[in-house]
Subunit: 354 residues, 2 copies
């Protein structure tokens, strides 16, 4: 076992109200930190009391956003086991992001071991009411205090934990989504396939415009032709057209979602036709007019599944399945949530017990 | 005058060796800080001793890179006056970046006043040897500790100062530049025209590849067709073809450089033909083959002007003006540097005396 120093807090925080957790607002008593220096590599893994990060004002992360992150969840089962959902996939993806952002690769085994120990230390923070979970946020920031535009030579890898509520209070609920026709999230050759802050900073404006129009999320089209569907806010997107479930193929500017991958595997196992391919917004509009557009949903760690009740594209309002949750959407949600929280058998070996 | 509290340090740092300053490695004794809260707006402007920034690990800047910055310089004239070069343009551009990044606008007058007071406090840090100056880095970071992907409700606006050396030790020197054919810095509808960290994070990889090939900088083509010239690293670009100076028009994905604008004004004043228009990499290659490509240079606050001695595009090596500094390039450099450091008359009212 890899040696991780642990310094326990002497000043435990009060736990938040489990009925009012929201998302990413409360944090547990401890955090994990790992340092990188050019001559030492990644070193000094440690669990310490949750505390502020103190950085020189010239630290590169503040200026050039050299940073990557991940998001995954731990669940408490009814019989009080703690399950992590596909954590190796997250650390693998973190290293893919690292490569794009010129950040040195982390040791994925060390990260997983550290995560397990951290969650174990803060185990009593994992909420148990239905739909709640412990959200885990690993992230890396460039810390050297130097304003030259070049890759940093010092980094910190940090993991923090946040008990989160059910994304939608009354179970899943169809959302209304605006298809963005001006702003762009990612382009070929850009950073769209990496989980890096700049993608999210760049998406805020579209999100703000959608909100003003009364929409909950933005659907992003490709950055080159503004024709092909890419993804939604922090979710991948799926459409059911004429009985076949279609999701945009991973083209280099879409984040390879782990929920997306799980959904594809679930659909295959259930013998429902599923295609990963390029799909234009026009094809969606046409399918809608032909009555062939049966369901649409987003997938991501935070909400697991968000059924899409309405898509707005220019002047066209596309109402999907009467703004109700589709059958396949509901089945996928029930199945995945069941596997994640341990109430269904995990045929895929996706979950890891602490 | 706007009231800015000032707390002076009791522990002055040692000044660095003026012959070995480099860029953005040393910082002065003080910094300026201004806070933003939703209910209070921007408030509490203050000059304090240079010190670390302490932030919750969940602060939005670490995760979603909601941040903008600026870069400008102060010069010490031979008769010991302190000149700021077009600082209002920088604060104006900061607010343009703010708009794109959903950051509340700052009061440009307050920022300028704060900058003057800060530079005055650290006046003895302004280096005086030829080519040196005081680099000023204003920046804004999103500070609220919340992991939801949405615009922050708390920000800090900070200014730090760094005495910097001449970008090239022996005066200006032609650089070799690789034209990037795979990675993309910015796309239409993206954040290219804003000075925000994500653009720089995304550029690191191209920069690293160029370096490995022995090139000093990357020339970015447009994100849509990878055909039109955009800009170089942290500089705008100019070509002299058949007696006319051409620079890419501001198209929404190029940073509107203040040095760029100054060069255009200087060229017009000198009655040298100058065009802002779309220019493809093929046009450059053709001009080279026809013997019409006379000079090329980058412009930016850090280096002022970088003559370009070589451009590499796919298998083509374009040697410009025998890898020597062109006449117009040298004239522009001498003129602008002269205005900036007060040795030439400032016909344009670009400089502000402290
Ligand atoms: C941009 C983006 N797309 C898609 C996803 C979904 O990925 P995952 O299913 O791994 O959470 C996320 C993250 O949650 C995201 O940030
Ligand atoms: C991407 C980029 N382009 C161009 C420039 C040049 O702008 P300015 O002349 O205002 O320094 C900069 C900044 O210095 C930059 O970061």
């Amino acid at each position: 076992m890899i040696e991780i120093k642990t310094e326990l807090t002497t000043n435990k925080k009060q736990k938040p109200d489990l009925n009012n957790l929201g998302f990413g607002r409360f944090f547990t008593d401890h955090m994990f930190v790992l340092d990188y220096k050019e001559d030492k590599g990644w070193h000094d893994p440690r669990i310490i009391p949750y505390q502020p990060i103190s950085l020189d004002p010239a630290a590169k992360v503040f200026h050039y956003s050299q940073t990557v992150f991940e998001g995954l969840k731990a669940y408490l089962t009814v019989d009080k086991r703690v399950l992590l959902f596909r954590p190796e996939s997250n650390f693998k993806r973190l290293n893919v992001s690292n490569e794009r952002l010129c950040i040195p690769a982390i040791n994925e085994e060390l990260a997983l071991e550290a995560l397990k120990q951290l969650v174990a230390v803060d185990r009593d923070w994992i909420p148990s009411t239905p739909g709640t979970s412990l959200y885990i946020r690993p992230f890396i920031i460039a810390t050297d205090p130097c304003l030259g535009v070049s890759s940093a030579k010092q980094f910190q890898f940090i993991m923090i934990l946040s008990p989160v509520g059910s994304y939608y209070k009354d179970g899943i609920k169809p959302v209304r989504i605006l298809v963005e026709d001006y702003y762009v999230r990612a382009a070929p050759g850009g950073t769209g396939a990496a989980k890096t802050g700049g993608n999210y900073a760049s998406s805020l404006k579209g999100q703000e415009m959608a909100s003003k129009d009364g929409y909950e999320q933005t659907l992003w089209l490709d950055g080159k032709e503004k024709r092909y569907v890419e993804e939604v806010g922090s979710m991948n997107i799926f459409f059911k057209i004429n009985g076949t479930v279609i999701t945009p193929a991973l083209n280099g500017s879409i984040l390879p979602g782990i929920t997306r991958d799980s959904m594809i595997q679930l659909l295959k196992a259930k013998k429902i036709a599923v295609e990963e391919r390029r799909i234009s917004i026009n094809e969606i509009v046409e399918a809608y007019h032909n009555g062939a557009l049966e369901e649409a949903f987003g997938t991501g760690t935070a909400a697991v599944i968000s059924p899409i009740g309405e898509l707005k594209w220019l002047d066209e309002k596309i109402i999907i399945n009467n703004s109700e949750i589709g059958e396949v959407t509901q089945m996928l949600y029930d199945t995945l949530i069941g596997i994640q929280n341990g109430s269904l058998k995990d045929e895929f070996s996706w979950t890891i017990m602490l």
